[in-house]
């Protein structure tokens, strides 16, 4: 090796670590510490900025971070005890941040399970894997003593709770003998809790020392009352695999509290403990990590925020107080309640059949043609009754535009316009005679224009496209000849210059009609009818991606989505096709940050999913897909506000999220399984490169790699059958 290459080699230094996040700790109400392999990172969780990173250990991963002050103010300089494996470092925050101060790696006698500062912060207790506590004097940084309770088997988990100067509880999770709680000063075992099966993977005592949370190989969470002889007071069942993180938060005056948990099953769950209830009730499930395992978590009880770090390297933020956020709504009405509120008498068996979200309320129609509006989503009002809409009716409208349309089979269409307070201000009637029967009405609002298509089941009938203006008057009409194939339409999009219209049908059929040069009278033949490119069930939505390039996003009922381009008729080019992990896709849209958001149903719940960053935004148990439902959304800055309305056994229920002013994700991460191959491609931007990775999870991911060595995920390509994926850059 020449001197030259040797020198070059020596200049190689590590920039960043992208891998499993095994430790998380809130430093204060703005900053969170994350252990990413041997590297400690600090993120600002208001701005989602990575503000600091430094390698702590030569090779051991950081497993936990412990702070001398909880929630220190800006001028405090807390001490951090950082450990992983057999390595321990004890540093002041200021010293950590000054790169000229070296960080010493210490050894506390064995593998470390937990550390905690003494009440006066002059000592550090280290619980090690054979159930010893090594006490370190922080002034001299010397070993003080090693204490034990005369039980020295291997531990799988542990924690220390300092209650006062001389009341210190050591909580030890053993391989097969349950949980041992011993008193550090007396070295006596005070509780031996044996109701779990298998190895104990987590134990934590509450701040006041009254309760203990534990979890084991049996996949349950148990709550114990340490002030009542260590009695088992509640069980929480639900996780589908081992639980790696557990913590208390949200204690209430009645003595109850919440539990935040994260598991190998890649879900995070919220539970509620109420005194006297032997079930730890599961309040919500969130699925935000990919691959295997969520390793770490932490809770900011004051701001009611949860955080998890996964094997996928993602750092996810959760709102632990959704109900308390401004704008949150969760309403449920039975027909009886609606009748009383709106002062109408419903007949026996009458139901609200269809409804449309107007943005400031929603309008619905009953099976006997009673039209009602629920103003501001709280106040029901009866509008009118129209017997023509008995038995069959459709209610559609224009997203966030306060205009709705009601139709029956005979082509009687009533258009309704509402004001800002959701009062009906205008009503217009249309009659369509050219269709033998109307059984489908699909609407579209696009750049200030209102379109709808009417369809009949008769293949010889035309498809009718109408445009109305703000005053509900029809201003444009087109007739389309149906293709030879039998089609049932489901979605459409039209460009605002009225050049062409693209229609999505069942069985993946894409139809296109060229509108330019046609007047309103002649019937237009399809310029394109494709069924070979798009595979799958119904095309549930069509969104314009780029007007210039004529690219569209199509979502498919059977969990796929496509990006297609239709620039040179009569051909259609599939640019991308992909599948989400699971579930049915009923639609999708892009966020202001260009993240692809998809929504639909999976088993018994409705979900909204960030496909770009791979996390669940919401999950609502509603009984599954076969029901009346509506989803409305808009963005406030980069925060998604959504409202989901659904019918369940004749009750109507509504959930609307409130304002959440924190980012959802601090680090997007990668796979969560072994990466088998990767490739880096230069881009036009000198500070950014494309990172393409293939993993044993059978997906390929595309991320941008910035000059500081961090990656942001953009695309996850599924559909590969086998385990190994070689990645090679084609161009």
């Amino acid at each position: 090796m020449t001197q030259d290459t040797l020198e070059k080699q020596q200049q190689l230094h590590s920039l960043a670590h992208l891998g499993p996040i095994c430790a998380l700790k809130c430093l204060n109400n703005e900053l969170i510490l994350a252990g990413d392999g041997p590297v400690l990172k600090i993120y600002n969780y208001s701005t989602s900025q990575l503000v600091f990173q430094r390698q702590i250990f030569a090779r051991n991963k950081i497993h936990e971070i412990c702070l001398s002050n909880k929630n220190p103010s800006n001028n405090d300089d807390p001490i951090l005890a950082i450990f992983g494996g057999r390595s321990l470092s004890i540093v002041k925050l200021s010293a950590l941040k000054s790169s000229s101060t070296p960080i010493k790696e210490l050894f506390a006698g064995d593998w470390i399970m937990a550390t905690e500062f003494s009440h006066d912060k002059k000592e550090l207790y280290c619980l090690t894997a054979h159930n010893n506590v090594t006490i370190i004097d922080l002034t001299s940084m010397k070993l003080k003593e090693v204490l034990n309770c005369n039980w020295k088997s291997i531990l799988y988990s542990g924690s220390i709770r300092v209650l006062s100067d001389d009341k210190i509880l050591v909580c030890a999770g053993t391989v097969m003998d349950g949980v041992l709680i011993w008193d550090l000063k007396s070295r006596e075992v005070v509780h031996h809790l044996t109701a779990h099966e298998g190895s104990i993977f987590g134990v934590k005592a509450s701040e006041n020392g009254k309760y203990l949370l534990s979890c084991s190989d049996d996949r349950s969470i148990k709550v114990w009352d340490l002030q009542d002889g260590g009695r088992l007071v509640a069980n929480g069942w639900g996780h589908g695999a081992r639980i790696w993180f557990l913590d208390f938060y949200g204690f209430t005056k009645d003595g109850g509290f919440h539990v935040f948990s994260a598991s190998e099953d890649c879900t995070t769950r919220i539970w509620r403990f109420d005194v006297g209830n032997e079930n730890l009730n599961q309040l919500s499930i969130m699925n935000c990590h990919t691959g295997r395992n969520i390793w770490s978590g932490c809770v900011n009880d004051e701001l009611k925020l949860g955080f998890t770090g996964g094997a996928d390297g993602k750092l996810k933020v959760y709102d632990l107080n959704e109900q308390g956020r401004q704008g949150y709504l969760n309403e449920k009405w039975s027909l009886k309640q609606i009748g009383e509120a709106a002062d109408v008498a419903f007949a026996k068996d009458e139901i609200i059949k269809e409804y449309f979200d107007l943005g400031n309320g929603f309008v619905g129609i009953s099976s006997l043609g009673k039209v009602l509006v629920c103003q501001k989503f709280v106040q029901w009002k009866f509008l009118f009754e129209d017997s023509r809409y008995t038995t069959f009716s459709l209610v559609r409208g224009f997203e966030n535009q306060r205009i709705a349309a009601i139709s029956n089979k005979e082509g009687n269409i009533t258009l309704l316009k509402f004001d800002a307070d959701c009062n009906l201000v205008h009503k217009n009637e249309l009659k369509v005679d050219s269709l033998s029967r109307v059984n489908n009405l699909i609407t579209l609002y696009n750049e200030g224009r209102y379109f709808f298509i009417l369809e009949s089941p008769n293949p010889n009938d035309f498809l009718l496209l109408k445009e109305i203006d703000n005053n509900l008057t029809v201003i444009n009409e087109f007739k389309f000849v149906k293709p030879k194939e039998k089609v049932v339409i489901a979605s459409f999009n039209i460009n605002s210059k009225l050049e062409n219209i693209i229609i999505g049908c069942r069985f993946g059929i894409v139809l296109m009609y060229d509108l330019s040069g046609h007047d309103n009278t002649a019937a237009i033949e399809p310029s394109l009818c494709h069924k070979k490119y798009i595979k799958g069930d119904t095309i549930t939505s069509i969104k314009t991606l780029s007007k210039k390039d004529q690219t569209y996003l199509l979502t498919m009922k059977d969990s796929g989505y496509y990006v297609i381009q239709i620039s040179s008729l009569p051909d259609l080019i599939v640019l991308e096709d992909n599948k989400i992990q699971k579930g049915f896709v009923d639609g999708g849209f892009y966020s202001p940050d260009a993240d692809l958001i998809l929504y639909g149903f999976k088993s018994d719940y409705f979900f909204i999913w960030n496909e770009t960053q791979q996390f669940e935004i919401m999950r609502k148990i509603c009984g599954g897909p076969h029901r009346q439902w509506s989803l409305a959304h808009h963005y406030e800055g980069s925060n998604l506000r959504y409202r989901f309305i659904f019918t369940r056994s004749s009750d109507i229920e509504l959930v609307q999220n409130g304002k959440f002013s924190h980012p959802d994700v601090l680090a997007t991460g990668l796979h969560g399984r072994e990466i088998r191959d990767m490739s880096v491609v230069a881009t036009k931007n000198p500070t950014k490169k494309l990172l393409i990775t293939g993993s044993e999870d059978t997906t390929i991911k595309v991320s941008t790699l910035t000059n500081d060595g961090n990656a942001k995920l953009h695309w996850s390509q599924r559909q590969h059958g086998s385990g190994t994926i070689p990645v090679e850059v084609v161009n």
Partner: protein, 302 residues
């Protein structure tokens, strides 16, 4: 363990079923014996991490095949319960607990053993460093028992996973045995990182009489023995580690043994019978969780 296609194709699995072993692991011990003559003159054995018990079965058949075995003894220990095996004393306990080792010594009533083996493997968590640490602790616990119970010249075999800290262990074992070899039986899947450390000719450390003290953890026990385990110092500093690589041998007679990763054409009469898993799964700790899920009782309450 279900009937995955891999199992169905694996000849060792079928052979185990035919020959009446509870697990295919039996062949690993048999092949190690072929190579190293481990069973020669062996009467008194401790089988650690023994469930479901195929190694104990092998040992029991070997040791009790002749009549002259009045002082023979086999003790098998595992976290999991084990169904009885002829001539084997079973103990359900955690081998990392010093008190478990004390119980085993009690069963030997002060006598020595000829052979200590451990096929221990923890339930992997997926945190590689923790898994490696726990695995190393299982080996250390087995070794601790071996130093207390093995006669001079006795043998010790333990399962290892090739990983970061393993060469360190070789150096330490080298101080206690005449010969230390890392062996991979043909019946151990090439795709797994598993191999076995075979230690022959136990030589107690000069001037040191290993005595089990249930108040000392495994780590503390070895610190006193000065074989190079990391020590706790007053100033909390890290010790430099000595590393040494053990010779590596693949064993199992190449002519008659099968490679566990290869696919073989099945012998005709074997082809038709579908076999049940040899290792009947004992109830997993999460049995109740599965039951509740099946009954649909894991619901969100709101």
């Amino acid at each position: 363990m279900g009937k995955s296609s891999k199992d169905k194709r694996d000849l060792y699995y079928r052979k185990a079923k035919e020959e009446g072993w509870r697990a295919r692991s039996a062949f690993k011990l048999l092949q190690l014996n072929e190579q190293f003559e481990l069973f020669k003159g062996v009467k008194r054995v401790v089988d650690l991490c023994a469930a479901p018990g195929s190694w104990s079965q092998v040992l029991s058949r070997e040791i009790f095949k002749d009549e002259n075995n009045s002082d023979a003894k086999i003790v098998a220990v595992d976290l999991q319960p084990m169904s009885p095996i002829d001539h084997v004393t079973t103990l359900q306990a955690d081998i990392t607990h010093p008190k478990t080792l004390e119980k085993i010594l009690d069963i030997f009533e002060g006598g020595k053993a000829d052979f200590v083996c451990s096929d221990g493997a923890p339930d992997v968590t997926g945190l590689h460093d923790l898994d490696e640490y726990i695995q190393a602790q299982l080996i250390l616990s087995a070794l601790q028992l071996a130093t207390c119970v093995l006669k001079e010249g006795g043998a010790f075999v333990a399962k290892i996973f090739r990983g970061r800290d393993i060469d360190l262990l070789y150096s330490q074992l080298g101080l206690l045995f005449d010969k230390v070899i890392c062996a991979k039986p043909r019946s151990s899947r090439g795709t797994s990182l598993e191999s076995f450390i075979v230690c022959l000719g136990y030589k107690p450390r000069a001037g040191w009489n290993p005595k089990l003290n249930p108040n000392l953890s495994t780590e503390e026990f070895f610190q006193e023995m000065k074989i190079g385990r990391p020590e706790l110092h007053d100033d909390l500093s890290f010790d430099a580690e000595e590393r040494k690589v053990a010779p590596f041998i693949a064993c199992g007679d190449l002519a008659t043994s099968y490679d566990s990763d290869a696919t073989y054409t099945l012998e005709k009469d074997l082809q038709r019978t579908s076999l049940d898993p040899v290792q009947m799964p004992t109830a997993p700790p999460y049995k109740k969780a599965l039951e509740l899920k099946r009954k649909g009782e894991l619901k969100i309450i709101k």
